[in-house]
């Protein structure tokens, strides 16, 4: 924002006019000791927990421990110049970050300050980093899908908007890759993405930002960085900062996706802080509230229920105002809110007709409904949704395990908090199965409701085939000769496993995923060698593009695979199967 010279003098004039205001009253304290980014401060009576306090030299800290006669403060910066006896001032402000559209496309630190050299963040909004999660009344169950663009995930462990799905695995198993692909796949989906990098190397984060920029994903993404070189307090608050930025969109009726990469490192930073604050250590030396550290963060992921109102024509609903009531004196919330609002409208438009409808049954009821709808249209009432309702915040936390041990403290905690988990395994990764998803033990507990119907129809048989394959493959290792049925099962399983492989940065549209999985589960791949399948997949998409491009649109919009679509798909796949030449083995 550029200021003109006269604007500047205007500002200065105003400031000078107000200059002789009352003296500044602040509460202060004195530094008792300082070290390892933690200061103990004497005084500061009345200070609140997580309040920001100011040290000399414009250095800020956050109050973490309130003790009998001193407080423990985590310092957000270089604290070498802070010494015993220094004065610490209260600010009265709880730690907060800037939020809003201005953050989209930016790279910021845990305090929301830009670190991408693109100038200041111009937003009037700020929000506290610790906000209570929405209550049960404000929530609705997950129903819209959040497509990751990864075949293995969208088919077998679908994710819904508002869900919390854990990405867990050893180091270097492609955890970040899954997260980044998911962000790339949100292009044009009206989902604002937040990638929070905690305790990672600067170079790794720079690579991720590069990739996101290269794939055009920074247009709707914010990256929050608290790298390995940053102080523990910043690594500790970074996920909350990112979450707060996402909540701004959730609470204004839009959709957000937050990725916390990774929470193991956040827990380690928190353990460091806690030990320095002399909080009692528990299992694995983590403090007792490390569960709450993650549960309160992940609880903030939610699908917000829609709010519907009956209002007089021309009345605009005050956005996001939960005290507002419609013309029928009600606010309709929950899964049936819209229908309830319509009924409220009927009642206002035609009270008698509404009574008759309530009493009626069967076909009569249907007929009356039509009449009432017309009446409502003719009346001066309309049904409207609060545009700030119905938003969502999806969370994909990442946890790193040691040698696949999911029974360690932090993994078990986060597994129990989330609505499911994707297990990435080093063995699978090295054997070339990438994404290295172990589909046997990965689950999505709520996403099924959000999966589009066509995918649901074919995912069932995929899951069963794969399960049988896993069971048999274990036995087949010892068997020398196998009966034909078993052989067939094994062949099918090997092909299905093969088509779930997917490269990085090539998320696939859901309709294409459906086509290839349909081909696999219906046996269209059985005649071809496993090694030719990646080429098969690519050429098959091209073939359908050329022959019946409309089918993609049809699968997407019809959502379910009806007989017509099945027929068309089968025809296309049969024809393509005749044309496709797998490499000849020599």
């Amino acid at each position: 924002m550029q200021l003109r010279a006269e604007e500047i003098s205007q500002i200065i004039k105003k400031q000078i006019q107000n200059f002789d205001k009352a003296a500044l009253v602040t509460e202060t304290g004195t530094v008792l000791s300082v070290g390892d980014g933690i200061a103990r401060v004497y005084g500061l009576q009345g200070v609140m927990t997580s309040e920001l306090v100011e040290f000399p030299g414009e250095l800020f800290g956050m109050v973490l421990n309130l003790e009998q006669d001193n407080v423990g403060v985590a310092i957000f910066g270089e604290a070498t110049h802070v010494k015993e006896g220094d004065t610490v001032k209260r600010t009265g402000r709880i730690a907060d970050v800037p939020v809003g559209e201005a953050l989209v496309g930016r790279v910021v630190n845990a305090l929301g300050q830009p670190i991408d050299g693109k100038g200041p963040i111009d937003t009037p909004h700020r929000r506290r980093i610790e906000i209570k999660a929405p209550g049960i009344i404000q929530r609705q169950s997950v129903k819209e899908p959040l497509q990751t663009g990864l075949k293995a995930i969208d088919s077998l462990i679908p994710i819904g908007r508002g869900q919390r799905e854990l990405i867990i695995g050893d180091r270097q198993t492609g955890k970040t890759a899954v997260a980044v692909d998911t962000i790339i796949n949100q292009k044009g989906q009206d989902v604002y993405c937040f990638y929070v990098a905690i305790g990672q190397k600067q170079s790794t984060v720079a690579q991720v930002v590069d990739k996101l920029t290269h794939h055009g994903a920074m247009e709707y993404t914010t990256v929050v960085v608290a790298s390995a070189s940053e102080l523990a307090p910043l690594q500790f608050i970074a996920p909350y900062s990112g979450c707060t930025m996402g909540e701004y969109f959730r609470d204004s009726g839009r959709h957000a996706l937050c990725i916390y990469d990774d929470l193991s490192k956040q827990a380690v930073a928190y353990r460091q802080l806690s030990l320095l604050l002399r909080r009692p250590p528990g299992r694995e030396a983590f403090p007792g509230d490390v569960f709450y550290l993650h549960s309160r963060l992940l609880e903030r992921a939610a699908k917000i229920s829609e709010r519907w109102f009956v209002v007089k024509k021309g009345v605009t609903i005050p956005k996001g105002d939960v005290t507002f009531r419609g013309a029928d004196g009600e606010m309709h919330v929950g899964p049936y809110a819209k229908q309830e609002a319509v009924e409220g409208g009927w009642k206002l438009a035609d009270a008698e007709g509404f009574k008759a409808w309530e009493a009626a049954k069967g076909d009569d009821k249907k007929k009356l409904e039509k009449d009432l709808d017309k009446k409502l249209e003719g009346s001066d009432f309309v049904i409207e949704r609060d545009p700030f309702s119905g938003g969502s915040l999806t969370a994909l936390p990442v946890i790193e395990t040691q040698a696949g041990d999911v029974s360690a403290y932090i993994p078990t905690n986060v597994i129990s908090i989330t609505d499911g988990q994707m297990f990435l395994e080093a063995d699978l990764f090295y054997s070339g199965q990438r994404p290295a998803l172990n589909v046997g033990i990965s689950v999505s507990r709520v996403g099924g409701n959000a999966q589009i119907k066509a995918m649901k129809q074919i995912a069932g048989s995929l899951r069963i085939d794969l399960a049988q394959y896993r069971e048999m493959a274990a036995f087949a290792q010892f068997a020398s000769d196998l009966d034909a049925a078993t052989r067939k099962q094994l062949d099918r399983g090997a092909r299905l496993t093969e088509i779930l492989k997917q490269g990085q940065y090539v998320p696939l549209a859901i309709e294409k995923q459906i086509a290839i999985i349909f081909a696999g589960t219906q046996g269209f791949l059985d005649p071809f060698p496993v090694s030719s399948l990646s080429r098969y997949e690519k050429e098959m998409y091209d073939y359908i593009d050329a022959q019946d491009k409309g089918i993609w649109e049809d699968i997407r919009t019809r959502k379910a695979l009806d007989d017509d679509l099945r027929g068309r798909l089968k025809k296309l796949l049969t024809e393509f199967g005749k044309k496709f030449v797998p490499e000849t083995k020599d």
Partner: protein, 180 residues
């Protein structure tokens, strides 16, 4: 237990002794002086808390210091006990805690007024009575001169700072101009 908790227990005990023997004020002051000596002299700390020096030698050092400073026997006993129990590190916290308790007991508050130039006695008297009205307690006012304030007065009562200095306002003005 944290140092502060331990220190406040010792301080409570000393407070009671002080009240009973009617010598709270000298005890508080002497403890403060000793704490200051302990904090500022690295040599003293190195000897007093050093397990390699025998307890008798350490007590001898203490006795000498106490004699020099002319402290009350109860203060000397307190120190000897701290040395014996290896608790010397709490001395500063204990003195701080005792001062707070003693102030509360005597119903006084400590205040400090800093100004760019020395203030007139009349002004200080008026200020003192204002603070006394505000807090409902007797005020022990300390004066300080700090030319860096440029003009105006900064008053500190306990944790509360009432800053009417020109310096602070200029700093504020700068911050506001930069942010808008």
């Amino acid at each position: 237990m944290s140092i502060e908790t331990v220190a406040s227990r010792y301080a409570h005990a000393l407070l009671e002794i002080g009240v009973e023997t009617n010598s709270l004020q000298p005890i508080t002051e002497q403890m403060a002086e000793l704490a200051k000596a302990y904090q500022t002299s690295a040599e003293l700390r190195a000897v007093i808390s050093n397990p390699l020096v025998s307890l008798a030698d350490r007590e001898a050092v203490l006795t000498d210091i106490c004699a020099k400073m002319g402290v009350l026997p109860v203060v000397k006993n307190t120190l000897r006990m701290l040395v014996q129990r290896k608790r010397m590190a709490i001395l500063p916290a204990m003195s701080r805690s005792l001062r707070k308790l003693a102030d509360e007991h005597a119903k006084v508050v400590r205040a400090e007024v800093s100004s760019a130039k020395a203030l007139s006695d009349d002004y200080v008297r008026r200020l003192q009575s204002e603070i006394e009205k505000l807090t409902g307690r007797k005020v022990l006012l300390e004066r300080k001169v700090d030319p860096a304030l440029i003009a105006g007065v900064v008053t500190r009562v306990g944790d509360l700072v009432i800053d009417g200095s020109l310096r602070t306002r200029l700093v504020d003005l700068k911050a506001q101009l930069l942010s808008s």
